[in-house]
């Protein structure tokens, strides 16, 4: 079941209705949420629900252990304190081994076996490792990071351990975010789940807005642009000309944003209907004027996770990594690439962004040195040409890096990249007039979504909000009519669900 499937339209009103009919007690609300969340997961694959249950049980056990074995104070150097520190470290390692082991088994075992087989064959050894064909449990990449973040926070004393099994299991399995994030922090979600939720009009309105935005993004924009402009060219790059390649690349940038951003808006909207706030995951990334800014705006919860739990502890720690910012950046983005999937092309994508971040860091340091020498450089950096150039470079880099992200193999990366400059004559044809209209409307919608965030146009949205309520309602009603007429019939799977 996905948040735009018709079964969700059957299911969510039932959840919503029962949830708000229950007495406003956290235990009742969480029991219901947990039951429906497990049913939601069960609906995807009944046989893999135990994987989620076991993963939750292990981390609840570790959390309980850490709760009952409180960390001694930093200046306590007694043998008993050292023993307790060691025991807590073992508990953390147990959680790491289980979570990363499960991720490695389900997600990467096949990839590593295949890679090793290729290397062995290249060296002349023909004894190959068996390649495991296992089903990837839905959402494992998301809930694993969510649980690990919680365990890290509890271990470091940044977060009080959650002692309630019900709250903890609901935190792990909360259905709107279970399969594709946003990746919540324990400090944000657990207190909300521990307290009873109240039905608030403002939250309902914001939930409806977010859900509608997400639905338009996914069902109209992503599902229109992907099959019409992107998929044909990436599946047969040699048959299409450069214009088709560039359009497919820009189209994919729009599609992947609308697809994953759309999912995040849907999840946030759903959670708001249930009185829960999930973290923002996308903040107008295509307005970014540098790569670091881009990664603060795109898949925010994943990048914060990677920087908080990998980059910061390494470069601010005490080992070899201390102060090695470039190596830290490269590691973070290689990890991000690997997190997205067990494919060399994802690693290439990660390496490109890691390198881009390093180049930017050095450029930034160099430019700051110029600023220190001459204050005119500060003004220059604020000028429209500089900002425009910075924006164009950032977006161009992101676009180019999307090629290995989208391409299924290294061969497609090469053919597609060459096709941006020279190649065939083909151009995707859209036979149905309604689909042509939808493509134009989809691009216009995303452009409009970004435009109203720009200073020059930001008053537009406020002006719309100031219109009389019946007129605004009529506009929303017409949007619903438009969606029913133009949204493609068969919704495709969310791109990030497969990660």
């Amino acid at each position: 079941m996905s948040l735009v499937d018709v079964d969700f339209a059957f299911w969510f009103p039932v959840v919503f209705g029962i949830y708000w009919l229950l007495p406003r007690k956290a235990s009742y609300q969480n029991t219901l949420l947990l039951g429906f969340s497990y049913l939601f997961y069960f609906s995807w694959n009944p046989r893999l629900l135990p994987v989620l249950l076991l993963a939750t049980a292990v981390d609840y056990g570790v959390s309980e252990y850490l709760a009952t074995h409180v960390a001694p104070s930093a200046d306590d150097s007694s043998a008993e304190a050292a023993g307790r520190r060691r025991a807590r470290r073992y508990a953390l390692i147990l959680s790491l081994i289980y979570n990363l082991g499960a991720l490695a088994y389900f997600k990467y075992a096949g990839f590593f076996a295949e890679s090793l087989n290729r290397q062995l064959a290249a060296l002349g050894f023909h004894a190959s490792l068996p390649v495991l064909q296992v089903v990837l449990p839905l959402g494992i990449s998301f809930y694993t990071l969510q649980k690990l973040g919680y365990i890290f926070d509890v271990y470091r004393g940044r977060l009080e351990p959650c002692r309630s099994l019900l709250v903890f299991t609901t935190f792990v399995a909360f259905f709107p975010q279970l399969i594709a994030g946003p990746i919540s922090r324990g400090s944000q979600l657990i207190p909300q789940l521990a307290a009873p939720r109240q039905l608030r009009e403002r939250q309902l309105v914001e939930g409806a807005s977010s859900f509608l935005l997400g639905y338009v993004m996914k069902a109209l924009v992503a599902d229109t642009i992907g099959p019409t402009l992107v998929d044909p060219v990436f599946s047969q790059p040699a048959a299409y000309g450069p214009a088709a390649h560039w359009l497919a690349l820009v189209g994919y940038a729009v599609q992947v944003f609308a697809d994953f951003g759309g999912y995040s808006f849907l999840a946030i909207g759903c959670a708001r209907f249930l009185g829960i706030e999930l973290p923002v995951n996308f903040d107008y990334p295509y307005l970014s004027k540098s790569l670091p800014e881009f990664w603060r705006r795109w898949h925010i919860t994943l990048n914060r996770w990677l920087f908080d739990y990998i980059y910061d502890p390494l470069v601010a720690g005490s080992g070899w990594w201390r102060g090695r910012f470039d190596a830290g950046l490269l590691l973070v983005f290689l990890t991000s690439g690997l997190w997205h999937g067990a494919r060399v092309t994802f690693l290439v994508w990660g390496a490109m962004h890691g390198t881009g971040m390093i180049v930017h860091r050095h450029w930034d340091e160099f430019y700051r040195s110029l600023c220190r020498r001459d204050r005119a450089y500060v003004e220059r950096r604020r000028s429209v040409p500089y900002r425009t150039m910075a924006w164009a470079l950032t977006q161009f880099f992101f676009l180019v890096a999307l090629i290995p992200f989208r391409a299924g193999s290294w061969g497609v990366v090469q053919t597609f990249s060459a096709g941006l400059l020279v190649g065939g004559q083909g151009f995707p044809t859209i036979t149905q007039a309604a689909a042509r209209v939808s493509v134009i409307v989809s691009f216009a919608f995303v452009a409009g979504y970004y435009l109203v965030k720009l200073p020059r146009f930001e008053g537009w949205w406020a002006r719309f909000q100031a219109l009389p309520a019946p007129i605004r309602g009529a506009v929303y009603g017409l949007v619903a009519v438009w969606l029913l007429l133009f949204v493609p019939l068969n919704a495709t799977t969310f791109i990030y669900r497969q990660f």
């Binding site: 079941m1 499937d5 018709v6 079964d7 339209a9 059957f10 069960f42 609906s43 995807w44 694959n45 009944p46 009009e201 309902l204 309105v205 007039a433 309604a434 309520a469 019946p470 007129i471 605004r472 309602g473 009529a474 929303y476 009603g477 017409l478 619903a480 009519v481 029913l484 007429l485 019939l489």
Partner: protein
């Protein structure tokens, strides 16, 4: 009133208003489905039961005409299963029809029901396997009940297959809405275009010619897939089950739009299929009626899809068929002895 409530109310009213408008421009066409046929069968005691693909919808007109001609003594219920296929008919027959038939005339209540005739409408397409190994999506969508869906869901979770059941339930919940019902039918936008710029007759003619060619090719290609063993096994299971029932059984092939037929299609697909089906019917001792090319139906009697007769075509077909090949339906059936098995060998 609170602004957010006003916004919601205005949105709903705008949606409903637009929907009403579209209802006038392109009224939803709610087709008869398996559950409509089953409901009618369950709530009445007809003499004739018809199972077939979407073509069985034409038999509603046959039923009306039959009732009118016999003064209501001969009632007919048609159960249409979209997309056909013998294995799907077999499922519907076993899971939905046979339990009711058994209550009426089966071993438990022999002689209490009026059901005396069973008509199986089938054609070459029904004996071809599902394309690309895909399962019959129309079966869960159009023939399942909740008690069929739930065990499947509990075993497999929600799949692309069983989700069709929910999708169809969802659509039928909204059958009052032109906008929701139009999803997948795409009638509103062309109707709006016609209103705006008028009918493009030359384009319509070109489209019709292209559709004719597509159908001709499809029928010609049918020779490669007809009489698939899996589908024929499904057909045989139905025929075997019918043997123990004291009812008259007829296998019927419906007429085809003349423009979709080519000599190659007739000789390589339609005739071999009809020969095989006729031989099978004879083997079981059942009646066989082949109307593929023998009816007076003209191209104008078919809908734009080239596959189904239009309202006028339905009436013309009913009138003609009850005068000719289906005239036997006008008189009461003579219950045959329960058959022991096929009277001849395999065709």
């Amino acid at each position: 009133m609170r602004p957010s409530l006003t916004v919601a109310l205005a949105a709903i009213l705008t949606f409903l208003g637009t929907d009403r408008l579209f209802n006038r421009i392109a009224p939803p066409i709610v087709l008869r489905e398996v559950e409509d046929g089953i409901r009618q069968f369950d709530g009445s005691d007809p003499e004739v039961l018809v199972l077939g693909s979407s073509h069985a919808r034409t038999w509603v007109a046959v039923g009306d005409s039959l009732a009118a001609r016999t003064g209501g003594t001969q009632q007919l219920v048609a159960v249409p299963l979209e997309y056909g296929k013998e294995t799907s008919y077999n499922w519907v027959f076993r899971h939905r029809l046979l339990p009711i038939i058994d209550q009426r005339i089966g071993t438990e209540a022999r002689g209490r029901g009026k059901l005396a005739r069973f008509v199986l409408l089938t054609e070459w397409w029904d004996t071809c396997p599902f394309e690309h190994g895909r399962p019959s999506f129309n079966l869960p969508a159009r023939a399942w009940r909740w008690e069929d869906f739930l065990p499947d869901f509990l075993y497999h979770g929600l799949t692309d297959y069983n989700r069709n059941f929910l999708q169809q339930r969802w659509r039928r919940m909204w059958r009052w809405s032109a906008l929701v019902w139009d999803r997948g039918q795409d009638r509103i936008l062309p109707a709006l275009k016609r209103l705006a710029v008028g009918e493009d007759t030359s384009a319509n003619r070109a489209n019709e010619a292209a559709r004719d060619r597509t159908w001709q090719h499809d029928i010609e290609r049918g020779r490669h897939c007809i009489w698939d063993p899996g589908q024929v096994a499904g057909l045989r299971e139905i025929l075997d089950s019918l043997k123990r029932l004291p009812i008259e059984v007829t296998l019927v092939i419906m007429p085809r739009k003349p423009a979709t037929l080519t000599p190659l299609g007739i000789d390589s697909t339609l005739v071999p299929f009809a020969d095989s089906l006729g031989a099978l019917a004879r083997a079981y001792g059942y009646a066989f009626v082949n109307m593929t090319t023998g009816s007076p139906m003209a191209n104008g009697d078919w809908l734009f899809d080239n596959d189904h007769m239009n309202a006028n075509g339905n009436r013309r077909f009913a009138a003609w068929a009850l005068d000719h090949d289906l005239a036997y339906l006008l008189s009461p059936a003579v219950a045959p002895e329960t058959r022991a098995g096929p009277t001849t060998g395999d065709p």
